[in-house]
Symmetry: C2
DNA sequence: TATAAATAGGATAAATTTATCCTATTTAAA
DNA sequence: TTTAAATAGGATAAATTTATCCTATTTATA
């Protein structure tokens, strides 16, 4: 469904959010260890998230990655997916046609659109705060 | 969402079904032209669909690919997706965890499962006959 | 101001997916 | 029985995604 990069990106963002609640910055090594991902690749994904202003980076000693506390509840899963995988999952044709719309739909168009819209709604209505709090409560997990 | 191979596989299956209604077998060249896909790659995908008994192949002169008329309405989109992409889209974790279930769910588990189940239901309740008839009626298209 | 700790980013490699090409095998029909 | 038309399948190449490594740059602090 999502690319590996996007999966890592979401997991990393949740972990960063969790730490930002405590005012703690985290580095790629720690992140990769906690979400069970390759360090260098994860670092690249973090760069992309910084560029898209999903997370914030602080260079130099005592630096690391963080999310402003008051921004955590406004960052939606869709922001992360957008930043890494783009919008094809929301906009693209399920059968891969270059163009596919009501005017000239592919055979799967109507039924696929329903599911895709549901996915979109889900991603747009789920924010990092909710996800991080679930984890903090010990109800959900980022690895294994 | 689906791999290119799977997209081509679904489009090809619909085109074959359409022709099988008229008792006509089709070859990879014609299929690829009608669904706008690379010929040789499409041929490989057809092989996989034959192996999984989604479609039927007839070798030799006057051969080609076909689907038994009375089977067309029993072949579901999920059969094609299963054959080509496997079941990860139904079973796999949305965040890519090796294991993820109610007992130890990832942060996205519950919300993702809802969407995934909806996708599964859609694919399992859509058969080739329906899709082919829509196309025959000129309401839907396999390319552009 | 020097140093150490941290992210940024370029170059490259490995793995996977997508795509092509060629030959073998099968089969209907002349 | 030969021939031509068709799928099967192996080998390989191209493209993309995933992953690694190394160096540059930035910054807090001793």
């Amino acid at each position: 469904m999502f690319s590996k990069a996007c999966e890592y990106g979401i997991r990393a963002s949740i972990f960063i959010a969790l730490n930002s609640f405590e005012g703690k910055r985290v580095n790629p090594k720690e992140i990769a260890s906690e979400i069970d991902s390759p360090v260098a690749f994860t670092a690249k994904i973090l760069q992309a998230l910084v560029k898209h202003k999903v997370i914030n980076s602080v260079k130099g000693a005592h630096g690391g990655f963080e999310i402003e506390k008051n921004k955590i509840n406004s960052i939606k899963l869709s922001d992360i997916v957008d930043a890494i995988d783009g919008n094809t999952i929301y906009e693209g044709c399920g059968l891969g046609l270059k163009a596919c719309d009501e005017a000239r739909p592919c055979p799967m168009h109507d039924k696929f659109k329903t599911v895709r819209d549901e996915l979109k709604t889900m991603l747009e209505s789920t924010n990092l705060e909710t996800l991080a709090l679930d984890m903090k409560g010990g109800d959900t997990f980022l690895k294994r």
